[in-house]
Amino acid sequence: MRKKTFLALLGGLSFFIIAATVFVLITGDNAVLNPKGEIAQKQFDLIVFATALSLLVILPVFALTIYVSIKYRASKKPVDYQPDWDHSKKAETMWWGIPIFIIIILSVVTWKSTHELDPFRPIQSTKEPLEIQVVSLQWKWLFIYPEYNIASVNYAQIPVDRPVKFVLTSDAPMNSFWIPQLGGMIYTMTGMSTQLHLIANETGTYNGVSSNISGPGFADMRFTVDSTAESEFYDWTQTSKPTLAQLDTTTYNELRKPSIPPNPTLFYLKEEDLYWKIMERYTHSSHKYHHGSNIKNESSSESSEHSGGHH
């Protein structure tokens, strides 16, 4: 095959693959691009905005590459060949200037959105947020509802349209807590308490995962989140507690052993401050070593304020 034909085919095929990718992205059911809550929606809007802004540079680059490649190919003996033309103040000012301008716009948007969508920041709502404590274990997620004295493994139910405040730690290697359709992720770490404020604005079932490797069973660290009507959620929390297995320090120590539970389980939470006891396993011994951030997190456990939770 002639080189020119081959290159044209190659370029065509490349653009076809790129176009097919864009098509699947737009039309397929892609979790991040199919948001079901305010936070995920705002993050989706940002993705669209940043993409559009980048395309302002990228499309001209593509067009220019094709144009100069065709127009100035040696076989065509370009008439305006100028081997010594190596600078142009005007042109260079333009391509330092335009990207700077675009990045300034993006920077302003970044500064604002980083504050607005800070995972530690409570969501503005007329409803009180629901607090769920989350502990990542090898290889499962423990959800604790201190208000309702229940806990569950690999399953969470949340009321629709009510903000949820996840308070998260780990009793295992670092993990990352992610429910793509509700919004971005946050790390869970031993002796640290991070926060993630999310909300579901539609009822439905959403997938959750760990996105950070934490040992051989990590691929199975999946959980589901059901967003239901407030009344349905209330019924769930009132499940006949006497019939449930109890979760206290002893049963928790059993639970924390490495395992992949086949099904979600529900517990009656016997020890209301279990979450903080898990935290203490790592922070207690570090008191005398003055590990500032741990202590700060611990002491701020009562106030759910945004600033206290940071390290």
């Binding site: 490349s14 990718t21 993409t51 490649s69 990207p99 970044t110 971005g184 790390y187």
Partner: protein
């Protein structure tokens, strides 16, 4: 006596045994071939003990190519696994083996392929470009290479004896700590990087000195070829970033060997500190790799457009800006760790600022082509592939630099696609293009052009097929490093396309090997007769091909940025001054011995064989002291011999 080492360290599952056997078989095969051809003496005298930068460069590239094959096999196994491990089917790899494999893949591709190709290419052409006979410290150069080799050997030893780390290519604690990784895998990871890393640091010092002190008379910094600038900025990053890696790995190994608590979860240990430190090295590392690739493309675009590089000053400023900025963006690798919004926003904005100088470089390349007369030889086609893939990667990079967006993409397949986009589309494409471009200078003949065009085709299509589906998978909620997934998620078809893409890349690599074979067969037809096959612009093309071992019979003096191009244009007469004696460093096995000892120390520390560690360390120090006291001196090649050799070269050119 042998520490933790016993027979249990040998592999037991069939796939691991297969890996071990192919490695041992390959090694025995090469050794048998050398014995059969009676080439051991030749190998030792001409290559292993050589201090000639060009030969060291070739050895780097040979090792890096072998490691590329290994890394690709890992990649093929990984994507093969994810292509079938949907739902009930758990694939052919256990999760532990899968995790070892991606940890090895990342480690090998960055440290032993990308770094190896980079140091190889720099060794091949930097002295030639600067009009110098060698690097500043030829012996140190040999030590660097052999330390790199020892690190590589250690990684591969883990295939046969013991296991490799399953904690990812950056081994975050606490997962990489003793509590969760009690085996020797993480230790293999630590010590192979520790040894290779010291080699890299020494290379960095060597190349900076070479650039600052060994340039031909008249070559001011602003008349230096842009590739040399890119190497200078990259090596500045090496000498400042690699000590951070050394210390970080050192602290992690203290945790594992002596039970200290730098990065443990108790007694005041802080795993987050590790993540910060490793990325304080890790982010500059990305730019260490990409800057020389930028330099290579700058040379290629100017040469094949038959035109001066557009905006040389802008290019230099952009290189320096990228180098500086690369130090203040490391936190973008973990926005999700929970730092406050001020911190996250700062690092996000710093990250997107890097897009500015990078974008400027792209426009400068395109305007070098504009009003040029472009000859689309293979290196230039690689450049087109690079522009296409790299800009897509740049776009997804800018997206992820916005922290609120990153929360939705971090640690997902989207991220995996993004960094492969930069590393393959940028670094690998750049190095392959550079290899093709400078190949005739080193070996005396060009690579087969038509086969080369198919190679670009396979790499480009393979790349797009392998990685664009991963972008989609990331947005579907697929996280990285999953060895299996639920079938209800509807991910499988995308993983299958990705696996096909890896197959196409493998085809491309196969074609590359074929291209090499065919080119060697047809070397007489592809002979580079005048030393300047591409109508080049810089000094390396002023020497005959292959470049003689002393590089330049007479050291050139420089008046222009595109010195050789200007000389050709002004039809300047050859230098008529008389030949002079040339001093060249004497071959020495000390580099091999030092690296061998270092490798033994690493192996001993992995298996807790204390006597061997002590012996190796003492050995290293003794050799270094001996080398400092007893200088083997130089070989002097008399002017008459140079003259005779040059005349012979000239005659060959004319015939």
């Amino acid at each position: 006596m042998l520490g933790k080492l016993n027979l249990d360290a040998l592999p037991y599952d069939p796939i691991a045994i297969g890996g071990a056997i192919s490695l041992i078989g390959g090694t025995i095969g090469i050794a048998a071939l050398l014995t059969y051809k009676k080439r051991w003496g030749w190998l030792y005298k001409e290559w292993l003990t050589s201090l000639d930068a060009k030969k060291i460069g070739i050895m780097y590239i040979v090792v890096a190519t072998l490691m590329l094959l290994r890394g690709l096999m890992d990649a093929a196994m990984l994507r093969g696994q994810t292509a079938i491990a949907s739902g009930e089917n758990s694939g052919y790899l256990t999760s532990d083996h899968f995790q070892q494999m991606f940890s090895a893949h990342g480690t090998i591709m960055i440290f032993f392929v990308a770094m190896g190709l980079m140091f190889g290419l720099i060794n091949l052409v930097l002295p030639l470009m600067l009009g110098a006979r060698d690097v500043a410290f030829p012996f140190l150069n040999s030590v660097s290479f052999w330390l790199f080799f020892a690190g590589m050997a250690l990684v591969n030893t883990s295939l046969i004896i013991g296991e490799f780390s399953a904690a990812g290519w950056l081994a975050y604690p606490p997962l990489s700590g003793l509590e969760y990784s009690p085996g020797v895998g993480v230790d293999y990871w630590i010590w192979s990087l520790q040894i290779a890393g010291i080699g890299s640091l020494l290379s960095g010092i060597n190349f900076i000195t070479t650039i600052l002190k060994m340039r031909a008379p008249g070559m001011t910094l602003m008349k230096m070829p842009i590739f040399a600038w890119s190497v200078l900025t990259s090596m500045m990053l090496v000498v400042t970033a690699f000590p951070v890696l050394t210390v970080t790995l050192g602290l992690l190994s203290l945790d594992r060997l002596l039970g200290t608590n730098f990065f443990t979860t108790t007694l005041g240990g802080d795993p987050m500190m590790y993540v910060n430190l490793i990325w304080a090295w890790g982010h500059p590392e990305v730019y260490i790799l990409i800057l020389p690739a930028f330099g290579i493309f700058s040379e290629i675009v100017a040469t094949f457009s038959r035109k001066r590089l557009f905006g040389y000053k802008s290019m230099v400023i952009a290189l320096l800006a990228i180098a500086v900025l690369s130090y203040i963006v490391w936190l973008h690798h973990f926005f999700t760790m929970g730092a406050g919004p001020n911190v996250n926003a700062f690092f996000g904005i710093m990250t997107m600022i890097i897009a500015i100088p990078t974008g400027v470089k792209v426009f400068n390349w395109l305007f070098t082509m504009y009003r040029g007369s472009i000859d689309f030889k293979n290196p230039m086609i690689w450049f087109l592939g690079f522009v296409m893939t790299f800009t897509i990667g740049g776009m997804t990079g800018v997206m992820m630099s916005v922290p609120a967006i990153d929360f939705q993409m971090h640690n997902s397949m989207f991220l995996v696609a993004h960094f492969h986009n930069m590393i393959i589309g940028g670094v690998v494409f750049g190095y392959i293009a550079g290899f093709i471009y400078w190949f005739p200078k080193i070996f005396g003949f060009r690579l087969h052009e038509k086969l080369g065009t198919y190679v670009v085709g396979a790499w480009l299509i393979g790349f797009l097929l392998a990685f664009l589906p991963l972008y989609i998978l990331g947005l579907k909620g697929a996280t990285r490093r999953l060895d299996h997934y639920d079938s209800s998620l509807g991910w499988q078809w995308l993983f299958i396309i990705s696996a096909i893409g890896v197959g196409v890349i493998l085809l491309g690599v196969g074609l590359q090997l074929l291209q090499l074979y065919v080119s060697i067969k047809q070397r007489h037809k592809l002979r580079d007769t005048n030393g300047d096959p591409w109508n080049g612009r810089t000094l390396e093309w002023s020497t005959p091909s292959p470049a003689p071992f002393y590089n330049f019979a007479k050291l050139p003096s420089v008046t222009h940025r595109d010195e050789f191009w200007e000389r050709k244009r002004s039809k300047s007469k050859p230098d008529a001054s008389p030949y002079e004696d040339i001093e060249l460093p004497r071959n020495t096995p000390d580099g091999i011995i030092i690296a061998g000892m270092a490798g033994a120390v690493g192996f001993a520390l992995i298996w807790h064989i204390w006597w061997l560690a002590a012996l190796g360390l003492i050995g290293c120090i003794v050799i270094l002291i001996r080398r400092s006291i007893i200088n083997p001196g130089e070989i002097i090649i008399p002017a008459a011999a140079i003259k005779a050799y040059e005349n012979q070269l000239l005659k060959r050119t004319r015939s």
